[in-house]
Symmetry: C2
Subunit: 273 residues, 2 copies
């Protein structure tokens, strides 16, 4: 834990694009006094179809950028980067870095009754089997069934979350999983909570849906408490948004997800970090 | 025209990902003696949702990379980069650079009988109105109707080109255009020829479908002839593939598009150029 960081220093939160806003929203709700610096890598979105080496390089550049903002903790609000880069990048900085996989896995292990857990995620997240490994460490008897759903991110990014076509794509990707005995499903990509009601309707009440954002914010709170780093200021918290491309489109999207005016996002040339 | 370039020097062809292979395929067909160096920017695909500044920066880096391969001509086999970056980058190099927009526009102007031309493309290509401007220069009376189809690229990249869901997405995007008087439609993104038969079936025989790849290869031939730069060697031509990410996935895709074994694609850290 970095001791020279001020309690009023912000939390750094990053994602490949807009998906991580679902995590930022949960942090704002649970930790309303914390300032946030959010970075969305919109120039290189999506991450889910890309390789481990590039995801590590992208994550490293973003952490260097967040360090210039003197953040006191970093949340990788992207399942793909949490699965592929967290273990490497957390060794390279003094700032505590947490991802979304361990919190999501823990929530699923606590929720399941029969030990059969589904994970929907990007191609890279599922292929890495990180959720499977983390869940098995917590419960060696657990059965984990992963399914890559690569079109979910573009459907959300292009504004089709509530469109009929999305129902059909859910059906194409998740019908096989509905035939299994899963009683718990992890939304293993931060874009997927934006399809939550559709996915819940598809599986029905028997399947408990886990959004790792809630547990991730809880973990962040614990990390800050343990380091004595909570923001005790009574000033209104701020959230600044940075992106690597298309700032206007991002701001428009952010305003549909967040409950207040996100303001204008600022453009960063992330390849320079 | 660069005079010190050897006739056996390769043609550089680049795209945001696999889409430009439809152009490379046409060059191989029309210019079977020319060697090709293909670069697919798979680390930053898709381009169509990104800004002019970033598309110019990406294109500049790729041209620097292709210069290290001593190419004698460059084909921007990507409509988004042709629309947003060609004018800027062609001033910055001695190597002739051609894009796909002028050839595609010319083919459409020659094909149309009533002067009403449709253009399907990415968000960035359509918003730039480059096709409209280029067509109007050739035929000031032409009416151009553009339509962004942002889900077509992920559908192709994720292997859904022949899936029923793609028919529905075609219907969602192009139904309005079918109600207009267009008699010619430009496939204004190099991924879209992979949906050609579906789009042709949707519009029926009344609408002529233009794939700019054919005219682009013709233009390239003309540029090489004018510069006396055709490859007159009788050795078998070669094609080398480079990508910025996920080389294996790219090679797999290339083998489904090309009529011969594309071999392994090599990985390049494009941000270093």
């Amino acid at each position: 834990m970095k001791n020279n960081s001020s309690n009023t220093a912000p939390i750094g939160v990053f994602d490949s694009g807009v998906g991580g806003l679902t995590v930022a929203r949960e942090i704002m709700r649970q930790l309303p006094h914390e300032n946030i610096v959010y970075f969305g890598d919109t120039a290189r979105v999506p991450y889910g179809s890309k390789s481990r080496d590039n995801i590590i390089r992208f994550s490293r550049q973003i952490i260097h950028f967040l360090e210039t903002k003197e953040v006191k903790a970093i949340v990788i609000a992207c399942n793909t980067a949490s699965a592929l880069a967290l273990e490497t990048v957390k060794e390279e900085t003094d700032i505590p870095v947490i991802g979304v996989i361990v919190p999501g896995a823990r929530a699923a292990v606590q929720a399941t009754r029969n030990g059969v857990i589904g994970v929907a995620g990007t191609e890279a997240t599922i292929r890495s089997e990180t959720y499977t490994k983390v869940i098995r460490k917590m419960n060696p008897q657990a059965v984990v069934i992963g399914k890559p759903c690569p079109l979910f991110v573009p459907l959300v990014e292009e504004g089709f979350a509530k469109h009929r076509i999305t129902e059909e794509v859910i059906d194409i990707y998740l019908s096989d999983m509905r035939q299994t005995k899963i009683d718990t499903l992890i939304l293993g990509c931060t874009h997927y909570p934006l399809l939550r009601s559709r996915i819940m309707a598809f599986f029905g009440e028997k399947v408990h849906i886990v959004n790792p954002a809630y547990e991730t914010a809880m973990d962040l709170k614990k990390v800050l408490c343990e380091g004595g780093n909570e923001n005790r200021s009574h000033e209104a918290a701020s959230c600044q948004f940075y992106v690597s491309d298309a700032a206007e489109k991002f701001s428009h999207f952010a305003n549909t997800i967040l409950s207040y005016d996100a303001g204008a996002a600022k453009l960063v040339n992330i390849e320079e970090y």
